[in-house]
């Protein structure tokens, strides 16, 4: 059982390292883009709200595989060249995941009582200050559990990149089949690998919830 892993350490190591890179880079980018879109959706400017709503409706309702296909096969036809399949995957995962993060952030913002915003405005804070100092920190406190669910989904969604020439963990079974290894055990080890990656996320969430707890 262990030899399946130890004999193919190179394959597993490289695969999961690519998965981790995909996850971390698109995770950070999705958080930034998703938060920005979430604030668009609650902004007083109708045009920004329209952009936010349109974005969410298109990206959230498109299957991720199609988003990948558009970037890998469609984008070059429109003369949009990304440096590698890896970066195509990053972009696909980011634009898809940020639509979900946008909605989570928006729901978090909506839980903040209007009095908090008014109090901020009343002491002379600008719109950006009220948002960044008063509203978003409280919103993030409220959305940690659903936000972590979206990030865990992102981690698992990285395996779709295997279908688009990115040698991440999802590509390991095919390579193992070529080496004539046991497929069942390969899948078991990949599952264990993902569990190992997800456990720290769960602890991160617990830590963040404790750290931001208020009374």
């Amino acid at each position: 059982m262990f030899s399946v892993l130890t004999d193919n350490w190179d394959l597993f190591g490289q695969g999961f390292w690519t998965t981790i890179k995909l996850f971390l880079i698109s995770g950070v980018l999705s958080l930034v883009l998703g938060t920005l879109l979430g604030t668009f959706r609650v902004s007083p400017v109708p045009a920004l709200r329209g952009v936010g709503t349109g974005y969410v409706n298109i990206l959230r309702n498109t299957p991720l595989t199609l988003v990948f296909a558009f970037l890998v096969f469609g984008a070059p036809k429109m003369n949009i060249e990304l440096p590698s399949f890896f970066w195509s995957a990053v972009v696909a995962l980011t634009i898809y995941t940020s639509a979900f993060i946008c909605e989570v952030v928006r729901s978090g913002i909506n839980t903040i009582p209007p009095g908090q915003t008014e109090a901020g405005r009343a002491i002379g804070m600008s719109f950006i200050q009220v948002l960044s100092v008063i509203v978003l920190p409280q919103a993030f406190r409220a959305i940690q559990p659903p936000l972590m669910s979206v990030l865990i989904a992102l981690l698992k969604n990285t395996t779709i990149a295997a279908g688009f020439s990115v040698a991440e963990a999802g590509a390991i079974p095919a390579a193992m089949a070529e080496r004539g290894e046991n497929q069942m055990l390969t899948l078991v080890w990949i599952t264990i690998g993902f569990l190992i990656l997800i456990v720290p996320l769960i602890f991160l969430q617990r830590w963040a919830e404790r750290r931001t707890a208020v009374a």
Binding site: G115, Q116, A122, I123, G124, M125, S126, Q129, V214, A215
Partner: protein, 258 residues
Amino acid sequence: MSDSGTLTPDTQNRAGLVALSGVNKHFGELHVLKDIDLSIAKGEVVVVIGPSGSGKSTLCRAINRLEPIDSGSILLDGEPLPSEGKALARLRADVGMVFQSFNLFAHKTILQNVTLGPLKVRKTDPKQAEKRAMELLERVGVANQASKYPAQLSGGQQQRVAIARALAMDPKVILFDEPTSALDPEMIQEVLEVMIDLAKQGMTMVVVTHEMGFARTAANRVVFMADGEIVEESDPETFFTNPTSRRAQDFLGKILKH
């Protein structure tokens, strides 16, 4: 005699630190402020009373533009209220506001609640902001709670912190929007005492309240509103003993009976 020497308190009063003229405001069909003219002099304590739905809270919130108005003008220290953006924020920094539901920043400690405005808006030195905040918390009697969060304090304590938060900006005027209406009876007095203290020290205050006792002891002037209009305006003694309008007589009859 110099020009300034000829100014009588009366003309100063007309110039006004806060001056509303011809202010109108609608909520859809509802005409909540009807041609409001009101001038508040520096150091004056004006208490606005009236039945609920009379527009008194809206009037209070219009003064720092938390409610935009439809027509008319509001001048603060001679300057018209800007409609949006940085100029409005700068002006709001000079107008303190105390809300019915306190609205302390839930994720900040008591001390941070008071220092936030000076730090973010006035760009005060952190040490100095903290020192001043502690003095103000001392003054309102909650300095020993400085490191707690709002939810750990009683309503009365929270409202006193909210007053300290407003004072930390060194405002020209403080607006109180029913500051004791959400409090348990035994906590009302502790908040009113802080407010009476402020009034004595010459702070310009606009107070929307149902506390007639406060109006009698601390107000220079009582403004009675009904149906979006200022119906009657006089010193508290005259208003409570000898109201001239029918509406004010009715209102006082209802609330002073028991």
